[in-house]
C-alpha cells in the first residue's frame, strides 16, 4: 500500500468523524428535548410529545450531516504530510470547537436574554452590523483550534488522551444515532397514520 492510500480516510474513519461531529449537536438537542417534551405533552398528549422529540432528533441529525459535510470539506485543506490520526483528531477538535462555542452562545442568550436585549437596545452601534459577534465567534473558534493543534502536535500524552476521549464520544454518539432511528420511525408512523 502506498503512502497516499494509507493517509486517505477509510469508511471507518469517516464514520468515526461523523459520530464525533454529531455528538455535541445531539447532546444539546437532547437536553432541550427533555426540557420541552413535558410542555408539548401537556399541550396535547404524550404521543405528540414523542412525535415532537422525533422531529427534534431528525432536524439534529440533518444538521449533523451538514456539519459533517463542512468538516469533510475542511479535511481537503489539512496537509497530507500530517498523519491520518492527527488529521482526524484535528478535524474532530474543530467540530467540537464549533459546537461548543455555539452551545455557549445559546446558553448566554438563554441565561442573559433580558440583559442582552436591554444592552443591545441601548448600544446598537456596538452590536451592529451583525457580523461583529459572528466574527468574534469565528476568532474564538480559530483560537481554540490553534491551541488544540499546538497541544496535539507537541504533547503526546494530550494527544493520546484526546484520541481516547474521541473514541468514547464516538461510541456514545452511536447510541444517539439509535435514538435518531427510533425518532424517524415515530415520524413515519405519525405521517402515515395522520398522527
Amino acid at each position: 500500500m502506498d503512502e497516499t492510500t494509507k493517509r486517505s480516510f477509510t469508511r471507518a474513519d469517516w464514520f468515526k468523524l461523523f459520530l464525533v461531529t454529531a455528538f455535541l449537536p445531539h447532546m444539546w438537542s437532547l437536553l432541550m428535548i427533555f426540557r420541552d417534551v413535558p410542555w408539548v405533552s401537556r399541550r396535547t398528549d404524550i404521543w405528540d410529545g414523542i412525535g415532537f422529540a422525533g422531529y427534534g432528533l431528525l432536524y439534529t441529525l440533518l444538521e449533523s450531516v451538514l456539519l459533517f459535510g463542512f468538516i469533510a470539506l475542511l479535511s481537503l485543506l489539512t496537509p497530507r504530510q500530517w498523519s491520518k490520526s492527527l488529521r482526524i483528531t484535528i478535524l474532530s477538535v474543530i467540530a467540537f470547537a464549533l459546537a461548543s462555542w455555539s452551545i455557549l452562545e445559546q446558553l448566554i442568550l438563554i441565561v442573559l436574554h433580558d440583559q442582552l436585549r436591554a444592552y443591545a437596545t441601548e448600544n446598537l452601534w456596538l452590536i451592529s452590523p451583525v457580523w461583529l459577534p459572528q466574527a468574534m465567534m469565528a476568532a474564538l473558534i480559530a483560537l481554540t483550534t490553534a491551541i488544540a493543534f499546538l497541544l496535539l502536535r507537541n504533547i503526546s500524552s494530550f494527544r493520546l488522551a484526546m484520541d481516547n476521549f474521541l473514541d468514547r464520544v464516538a461510541m456514545l454518539s452511536g447510541l444517539y444515532l439509535v435514538l435518531d432511528v427510533a425518532g424517524f420511525v415515530v415520524i413515519v408512523v405519525r405521517n402515515v397514520t395522520g398522527a
Binding site: P25, S29, T44, R190, V192, T193, A195
Partner: protein, 504 residues
Amino acid sequence: MKQHLSRRDFLKLTGTASAALPALRYLPRRQANGNLPNILILVYDAWSAHNISLYGYERDTTPNLRRLAERATVFHKHYSAGNFTFPGTSSLVTGTYPWTHRGFSPGMGIDPQFETRNMFQLFDQYFRISYTHNAVAHVLLRQIQESMDRLKPRQDLYLDRDPASGLFFVNDEDIANIGWWQSIVKKGRKGTYSLFFSHFYRDYKDRILARYADVYPRGLPNIRDDNFFLPEDATDWVMEEVSQMHGQETPFLGYFHYLPPHDPYHTRAEFVDAFRDDAYQPVEKPQHIFSRGRTYAETTHSRRMYDEFCLLADQEIGRTFDHLEQTGILDDTIVIVTSDHGEMFERGLEKHYFESLHQPVVHVPLLIFTPGTQTRQDVTSVTSSTDLLPTLLHLAGQPIPDWIEGEVLPPFAGSQPDPDRSVYAVEAKGSEQYGEIHPVSLMIVRDGYKLTYYDGWLRQEGKGPLVELYEIEDDPEEMFDLSEQLPEVRNALLSEVLKKAGLA
C-alpha cells in the same frame, strides 16, 4: 285520535305562530324563490368578546363591527364550547360539545364518526370551500376534507412556508411545525436546538421581515415565528373567491378561519400605539391557581398589543362587508362573524394556552347577517357555538339531525328562548380521547350563574377539584366566587355538568 283543536291547543298554536312571525324576516330571499341561500362563515381566531367595543369594551377596538352591527343579529352571551382552536372549532362545525366529538386536542382529531357528521357534509347540495391560516384548525379541516369540495392549503396564502409542516410532513403539520419552531426558528430566551443552521435561517427570515417593516413594524403576522402572511391577502382571496362562486347555479358554503387577532399580535403600522397612553385601566384581578406568573404590568401591555391587533381584524371585516355589499352578495348570503375561542390577559395568565375557562377565553362574538335585514337585533339569552350549525340548517330549510346538541338560535327558531337553558365548555387537552375525561376543565352557564370545575391538572396536584361559581349577570368580571355561599346552586350546576361530561 283527537280530531278537533282544544281551546288550549289553539292558544298554544297562535302563541307559537305569533312568536314565529318576527322570524319570517330572517328567511333568505333566495329561499323564498325556491333557491338556497349562500352561507359565508368568517371566523377570527382567539377573538374575545371582552375586548370588543361592540360588546361594551372601553377601547374602541371594533369601529367597523359596530357600524355593521346595525343590520345584524348580535348575540351578547355567546360561548365557545372550548378554550382553544381544536375543540372550539370542532364544536362549531359539528354542532356538538367536546365530550361528544372527542376532539380534545389536534393530535387525536375528532371521533371518526364526525368525518361524515359535520357542517360540510350536511350542506352537501352546496359548493363547500374552506381555508384557514391556523395549523390547528387545518388539522380538523383536513380530517373532514372529504365532506367538502375544496380545502385550500393554508400555505397558499403565506408569504413563505416552513419546510417541515409546509412541504414534508403535511399529515402531521401541527407537531412537525412545533418541532421545526423549537429546533430551528425560535428566538430569544428559550434558545434553539440547532447550533448552526438556525443562524442562516433567521438571517433569511429577517430579510423577509425587513421588506415589510414599514407596513408591519412589529413584524409580520405569522405561525410560530415562521410562515409569515399578510392578513389582507386572505381577505382579498376570500372576496375574489366568493365573487366567483356568487351567481353560480350551486349555492356556496364558505368557511374561512383567519388567524388574527390570535398571537403574535403584529398589527399594521396605522394601528401601532393606537391605545398607547389611553386612560383605560383593566380591572386588576388576583393570581389564579393556573397562573403562569404574569404580572399586571405584563398582561396590561400584552392586552394593548392584542387590542391594537383587533383593530386590524376589524378593518378586514369592514373591507369584506363593503365588498359583499357592493357586489350584491349580501342580498342572498347569510354571513356569520364569530370566533373559535377568546383570549385572556388577567390573573397571571396571557393568551389561551391554559386550563382556565374564565369569561375572556370562552365568551366570543357572534353576529349573523341575513339577506335583506336592515335593522339590528340584540339577543341577550345564553347561546353556544354548537348552535351555529342547527341555525344554519334551519335558515337554509334543511332538516336538523338528532345528533346535533346545539339549538336553533333564538330569533330564528320562532319560539321564545328557553330561560333554563344551559351551555357548556370543555377543556381536556391532556385527556385520553375515549373513556373518562381527565384532566378536565368544565363550564356551565345557566340561570345567570356560571360554574367552572377543574380537576386533575398538574397545577392542582394534591389540592383536589376546584369549583368556582359566579353570578355572571352581576359579576361579569368574575371577582366574587360564590361557591361557598350558594351550595345549592353550586351542587345543582355541578351535578348537571358532571353528568353531561360523563363524570357523575
